[in-house]
């Protein structure tokens, strides 16, 4: 492992796939039987995945053009684009889209900035570094619902949550008896939800960015330091350009996962106070309101949004993949 990595210094970025590439042509002239015997192990996974991801999505696409509310089984039929028209016309649903974008952007940007800072810190050598690293990963390992439940009642709760409790303790330490006691979930629900998600996703960003920092070429960094490049200059002109890829990956994967966030919304506000994001809106429309047509149209909107992010992600991944295949 170590030797392989040092041969390909640029990256902890998926070099291994490349080593197979030259072997592929060997099979191309093979007989049909041979080709099928190669394919056979692949087929169960492929068929299974297509059957349970692509087909349902086509189903969603079809239903999105239908009027279909399971409470009114006699009124099922095609209605063209009116579900989509409703998505765009309904102020509440437009707000849902805006909220999804806001929440995703805030959480991705904040957790990435924090994650980068923490990664820079943990990348240095100090006492107990391994333990600190493990501790920093922990927030990501709390089951999302459990974390959200705990944040709601034990951290954000205005009368006995940890945040306000700490404020009281700090204020009374300075002799004040009237500490600020914000009720984040009621007055600024976006902030409350975002805080809990930033806490959860910063470790994810940190791990990605730490991998990036550790794949810098140590000799080059040392040589730069020796040549008198200051800390800021070597960060600005060497670390940042090297980290661009990792920042892109963190941002894109973070966005893909956070656009799909459901648990925190479900648990913290249940979509109240204009905090319904797209996945929660789909859930609500389909599961609680039984409006299958509208829910499907919303689902398709989520997919369109994700495809836009995913296209950028794929481009970054593909460029990494090809670069490593040289």
């Amino acid at each position: 492992m170590t030797t392989i990595r040092s041969v390909e210094p640029e990256s902890g970025l998926a070099p291994e796939t490349s080593r197979r590439a030259p072997r592929a042509p060997k099979h191309q002239g093979g007989s049909a039987t041979r080709r099928w015997s190669l394919r056979a192990p692949l087929l169960p996974a492929l068929i299974f995945t297509i059957a349970l991801t692509q087909l349902p999505f086509i189903g969603t696409l079809i239903v999105s053009f239908m009027e279909w509310n399971s409470l009114f089984p006699n009124d099922i039929g095609f209605i063209g684009l009116s579900n989509y028209a409703q998505v765009l016309a309904d102020a509440e649903l437009r707000n849902t889209i805006a909220f999804t974008v806001q929440l995703t952007a805030i959480v991705v940007v904040c957790s990435m900035v924090l994650g980068f800072a923490v990664a820079l810190l943990v990348n240095e050598k100090f006492f107990g570094r391994g333990v600190v690293r493990s501790l920093l990963v922990l927030p990501f390992l709390v089951v999302p619902v459990a974390g959200a439940l705990f944040w709601k009642h034990a951290i954000l709760n205005p009368s006995y949550g940890l945040i306000n409790g700490t404020l009281t303790a700090v204020w009374s330490a300075f002799g004040s008896s009237s500490p600020p006691q914000p009720d984040l979930l009621s007055t600024a629900p976006l902030v409350g939800i975002a805080l809990s998600l930033i806490w959860r996703w910063t470790p994810f960003m940190m791990l990605i960015l730490l991998a990036g920092l550790q794949s810098r070429r140590q000799e080059v960094m040392e040589a730069a330091a020796v040549d008198g490049a200051g800390a800021w200059n070597s960060f600005r002109y060497m670390t940042l350009p090297h980290m661009r890829r990792y920042l892109e990956l963190g941002g894109l994967f973070g966005s893909i996962y956070l656009v799909q966030e459901f648990d925190a919304i479900f648990m913290l506000t249940a979509g109240g106070l204009d905090t319904t994001n797209l996945p929660y809106a789909v859930y609500k429309t389909f599961y609680l309101a039984n409006d299958y047509g509208l829910a499907s149209a919303l689902g398709v909107v989520v997919v369109i949004g994700t495809i836009i992010i995913a296209m950028f992600t794929l481009r970054v991944l593909l460029s990494l993949f090809k670069e490593n295949a040289r």
Partner: protein, 290 residues
């Protein structure tokens, strides 16, 4: 290069004293950051070990006497027992991990060791399916489950978890299998070893840590799921995350119980996650980051 690095050694030595101070500073700030990050979890543990009255105070009572009442209330209290949901979660997660490996290992084999044509396209196909949001497929899957009478069925839930995890597993396993030196397998083949022997004697010993990491990560994703379980299960097959959403009552003091519950449900993931922490990001980024 060599002269470059050798020449200024002395200057580096001079800086050593300031660098130990710097290292101290970095160490202290890193520890502070880490303690802030785990503070909510520490608070969760502490609250779970407090009595209900001590748990809900403002300012927080850090040094209140410890008790297991919170856990007792969660596991055996007046409410519904959490054991069936916990067992359901375990069943669905383990079953799905097995299914994932059964499907993904041969696929990864066909994408790395004996690659099919256009194996790269297939890899990216798997990747794109994972980028499809679950909500976009939820309704048809629900209708399908309903049509075959599979609602509230833990086995069908495991099947859906399998779909969720197969792409990740294929990518992870593919990357682990490609690390096996080609020469090793060719040598075994020359010695006349059958495919099964090669699998057992050559591939498995090298790939086992990778397979284990894949299994652990898929386990976490299945265990964490709320959306599928919420929509597709009712009473009999309900999972631990769904149970957690339902057991909070708005009456009375319950913070210690909530904390005990959150902790109990998270413990398997924390254990599994620490075991797999080096591979965690690799799984989440489809092997793009190691």
């Amino acid at each position: 290069m060599t002269t470059l690095t050798l020449q200024p050694r002395s200057r580096l030595q001079q800086r050593r004293t300031s660098s130990t101070r710097r290292r101290m500073l970095v160490g202290i700030s890193a520890w502070i950051v880490a303690l802030i990050a785990v503070a909510p979890i520490g608070w969760m543990v502490l609250t779970a070990l407090h009595s209900e009255t001590d748990a809900a105070t403002n300012p927080p009572s850090l040094f209140a006497p410890l008790t297991l009442d919170g856990f007792r209330a969660f596991f055996g209290g007046a409410g519904i027992s959490p054991w069936p949901p916990l067992l359901n979660s375990l069943t669905a997660s383990l079953l799905s991990v097995i299914l994932v490996l059964v499907l993904a290992f041969p696929a990864a084999f066909a994408l790395s060791i004996r690659p099919v044509q256009k194996w790269r396209d297939v890899m990216f196909f798997f990747l794109t399916t994972k980028m499809l949001p679950i909500v976009a497929a939820l309704l048809p899957l629900y209708l399908f489950a309903k049509a075959i009478g599979g609602l509230d069925n833990i086995f069908l839930l495991a099947v859906f978890y399998t779909v969720m995890n197969v792409p990740i597993a294929v990518w992870m396993l593919q990357s682990f299998l490609s690390e096996i030196p080609v020469e090793l397998m060719e040598a075994a083949q020359l010695d006349g070893a059958s495919l099964l022997t090669i699998l057992r004697k050559v591939i498995l010993p090298v790939a086992t840590p990778g397979i284990a990491a894949t299994a652990l990560i898929c386990f976490i994703f299945s265990w964490n799921d709320l959306l599928f379980a919420r929509v597709l299960t009712g009473t009999a097959a309900t999972t631990a995350p769904v149970f957690l959403t339902g057991f909070v009552s708005s009456q009375g003091l319950f913070l210690a119980t909530v904390s005990a519950g959150a902790l109990a449900v998270s413990l398997p993931v924390i254990a599994v996650g620490i075991a797999a922490q080096d591979r965690l990001v690799q799984g989440l980024t489809f092997g793009a980051v190691k």
